[in-house]
């Protein structure tokens, strides 16, 4: 049985032989398509970006497929949403990637939430009786464009450190993204301004950043508690509350069943809006700015359809 030593020696030799000079582009893997889009904005042709979760998929429940191990195996940089969004599937993928560069704590691991503005960080004691709470705060923070800017800044700093020769390129691309984002933000803010304070209901707690930014007031959730599917008693309560407060909009993520939201809408005369929580949530949402274009348009037209304020 010479195999363990023979194998490792052979493997070492093989790796040494295959080691090539520094690749032209930085290989980046992101956990979501939003992070991939922002990385593309900053990195341009200096990066090659792949995302793991699709934009129309529930990012809490991604399968840890071996094909993702292969992606991570060759990555120079892994950008994660963090705040335990990926706790159910990313750790085993990283562990099996056999890639020292992207292990948490290493230079090639970037937790994008570290510089973002995080809402709903629980204070005091939390228990699972509250449902699937995220003890480190709400992980859907990319849905505020200002957090997109912060993420871009963090990625710019990281890329510049990984490829110092391209620092200027990354800085210029960041500045360009920042400028386009500012223009777009003015557009979105103007579109949403007439409806500040409008009361809405959402399915999951995915939208606190979005609603805070655009002045929507979430008065309830279709889920009785985060991660717990709708129950009849909660749905009845929610319907009564919506009638009392005149709520006409129900925001739903594309990966949730529409049965309960539709029956709530029938009872209350509200409109169900399937909003995209991520880039790639719909075919036409191909980048981070288009994500908000799509969502803001959808919300505005739904509000107008249901009679404005």
């Amino acid at each position: 049985m010479r195999s363990p030593f023979f194998r490792s020696a052979a493997a070492l030799a093989l790796v040494a032989a295959m080691a090539s000079p520094v690749p032209a582009a930085i290989n980046v893997v992101t956990t979501t398509e939003d992070l991939a889009s922002i990385t593309r904005e900053v990195g341009g042709d200096r990066v090659k970006v792949e995302a793991i979760a699709k934009g129309y998929q529930d990012p809490h429940f991604v399968e840890a497929k071996p094909s993702f191990i292969l992606k991570l195996h060759n990555a120079d940089l892994l950008v994660a949403v963090g705040r335990e969004l990926e706790v159910g599937w990313l750790p085993p993928l990283i562990q099996q990637s056999r890639n020292a560069k992207i292990q948490p704590g290493a230079d090639g691991y970037l937790d994008a939430s570290l510089t973002a503005r995080i809402l709903e960080i629980p204070t005091g004691q939390i228990t699972r009786a509250m449902g699937d709470v995220h003890p480190l705060g709400n992980p859907h923070y990319w849905l505020d464009p200002d957090n997109g800017r912060r993420i871009a800044k963090a990625i710019e700093a990281k890329l510049a450190r990984m490829s110092p020769g391209d620092t200027g390129t990354f800085a210029a691309r960041y500045a360009d993204f920042d400028r386009r984002l500012k223009e777009a933000e003015a557009r979105w803010d103007a579109a949403m301004a007439p409806y500040r304070g409008l009361k809405i209901v959402t399915y999951h707690r995915s939208w606190p950043n979005f609603c805070e930014r655009f002045g929507l007031d979430v008065i309830g959730y279709v889920e009785p508690r985060p991660g717990i599917p709708p129950s009849p008693s909660h749905t009845i309560e929610l319907i009564q509350e919506m009638k009392r407060q005149g709520v006409k909009i129900v925001l739903v993520e594309p990966y949730f069943d529409l049965k309960t939201p539709n029956s709530i809408a029938r009872e209350t005369g509200a409109k169900v809006v399937v909003l995209a929580p991520s880039v790639g949530g719909e075919k036409e949402i191909t980048d981070y700015i288009r994500l908000f274009d799509y969502d803001v348009n959808l919300v505005v037209s739904a509000i107008e359809e249901t009679g404005g304020k």
């Binding site: 085993p92 995080i118 960080i121 005091g124």
Partner: protein, 429 residues
């Protein structure tokens, strides 16, 4: 006499100390009103203070967030302190606010490095004619405690301790070196092995309340091949699909292998191929071989060959409502023993279908010969229904029909309650 006076004395203390109204003297009506008034005043005061404290805390955190955070060093890796906003009403959610108390710690951070801890309870029930099965009607089959953490920049460690009805054991305890040069994922310690699929699974990740007949008859049952050893696994680069080769060496002290000499080890090899057929379907194929001495004498060995195939369907848009898994494993056992060599074969085929967000239905077909006497053939089948109240608990019912080779036929209804507390582990794939 003394003991009686002691009892009276303690009884008196208990009565005096008791705040139970049943034991308290009933005060006159005017006193009661006075008491109620005082109590309501106190409640009002308490509520007022709680509100004030919450408001002050909110202002404090807002001030902290607004204060410019001076970067301690120019290192670009140091992230700016995230701005924190306390959600309105969070302080009144019922728990204590502020930092948690530290008992005997040198610093408040001394517990930061504690491992992730989780405990999973596995409660089993059985009813019906078991044809000699020894499974009790109700049983806390196992409590599994897991401790998992990163050791240092080079390694992480996983401990799984199981507490059964009459024994405590180490189910697994190993260190993993994920970044050994050459892409060799290395594990050292006591492990469940890479033989097929079921042998590597803990009880709570199985889609059944039991293990298939082939596992019981040929692959060591619940304990399986788990043993102390060393494992290395490497990806085999190729342009087409995921291919991983695993080589493991064990001491030879398991339910199947018993090494008579220190130099007689048990060896195990596993090859796994995986390919995405589409975004929502994939195919997972494996081949395994295990070899070592068995317990019939110093010169007798057992060789196991296994093949496994898994097909998964999971539509990404509706992944939390619909999933299908179809799996089969085939095992050939060649066991040398004093009466001659026994060549036994066993297999199972299972379907597991998630038809609603919290519901699974399953079916399993079983066939297996016995390792020590291949002429005895056991056959069986199961139907299953599983309900998940949440990600952290699970209720399962299994109807199991078994026709044993000796002639007995069992018809059983098996129940399982799984409940887990602590750290959120990764979902099994």
């Amino acid at each position: 006499m003394r003991s009686i006076s002691f009892a009276l004395f303690f009884g008196f203390i208990f009565l005096v100390g008791s705040r139970d109204p049943a034991f308290a003297q009933t005060p006159p009506a005017s006193d009661r009103e006075e008491l109620a008034r005082l109590r309501s005043d106190l409640e009002a005061l308490r509520g007022e203070y709680a509100e004030r404290i919450a408001a002050l805390e909110q202002r404090l955190s807002a001030l902290q967030a607004a204060a410019p955070t001076a970067p301690p060093s120019p290192a670009p890796s140091a992230p700016a302190a995230p701005e924190v906003q306390v959600p309105a009403g969070a302080a009144g959610a019922g728990g204590p606010t502020g930092t948690l108390p530290v008992y005997g710690g040198v610093t408040a951070a001394s517990k930061v490095f504690n491992p992730d801890i989780a405990v999973i309870g596995d409660f089993l029930g059985a009813a019906g004619d078991g044809a000699g099965s020894t499974q009790p009607s109700l049983q806390l089959h196992e409590a599994e405690a897991s401790f998992q953490a990163v050791v240092d920049p080079y390694a992480r460690a996983d401990f799984f301790l199981t507490f059964g009805p009459d024994e405590v054991g180490v189910e697994e305890a190993y260190v993993t070196f994920p970044t050994v040069p050459g892409g060799l994922l290395t594990k050292i310690g006591k492990m469940r092995t890479a033989f097929g699929k079921v042998d590597g699974m803990h009880n709570h990740t199985l889609p059944w309340t039991d293990r298939p007949l082939v596992t019981d008859n040929l692959v060591g049952g619940e304990e399986g091949l788990a043993d102390s050893g060393i494992s290395i696994a490497r990806l085999i680069p190729n342009p087409w699909f995921f291919l991983e080769a695993t080589a493991q060496v064990y001491a030879g002290d398991s339910a199947v292998f018993q090494s008579p000499e220190r130099s007689d080890l048990a060896y195990l090899g596993h090859l796994r191929g995986y390919q995405d057929l589409s975004d929502s379907t994939n195919l997972d194929l494996g081949g395994s071989i295990a070899y070592g001495h068995n317990d019939s004498g110093p010169d007798f060995t057992t060789r196991l060959l296994g093949v496994d195939a898994t097909f998964r369907y999971r539509p990404l848009r509706r992944a939390i409502y619909r999933q299908l898994l179809a799996r089969t494993e085939l095992v050939w056992s060649r066991r040398e023993q004093p009466g001659g060599t026994q060549n036994a074969f066993g297999t199972y085929f299972e379907l597991d279908y998630k038809f609603a967000r919290r519901w699974f239905a399953g079916a399993r077909f079983d066939y297996s010969e016995r390792a020590e006497d291949a002429s005895i053939k056991d056959k069986g089948g199961s139907l299953l229904l599983t309900w998940w109240p949440s990600e952290f608990s699970q209720i399962r019912a299994q109807y199991r029909h078994t026709r044993y080779g000796e002639g007995g036929t069992a018809n059983e209804l098996l129940f399982q309650f799984l409940f887990s507390i602590g750290a959120h582990g990764a979902h099994p794939f």
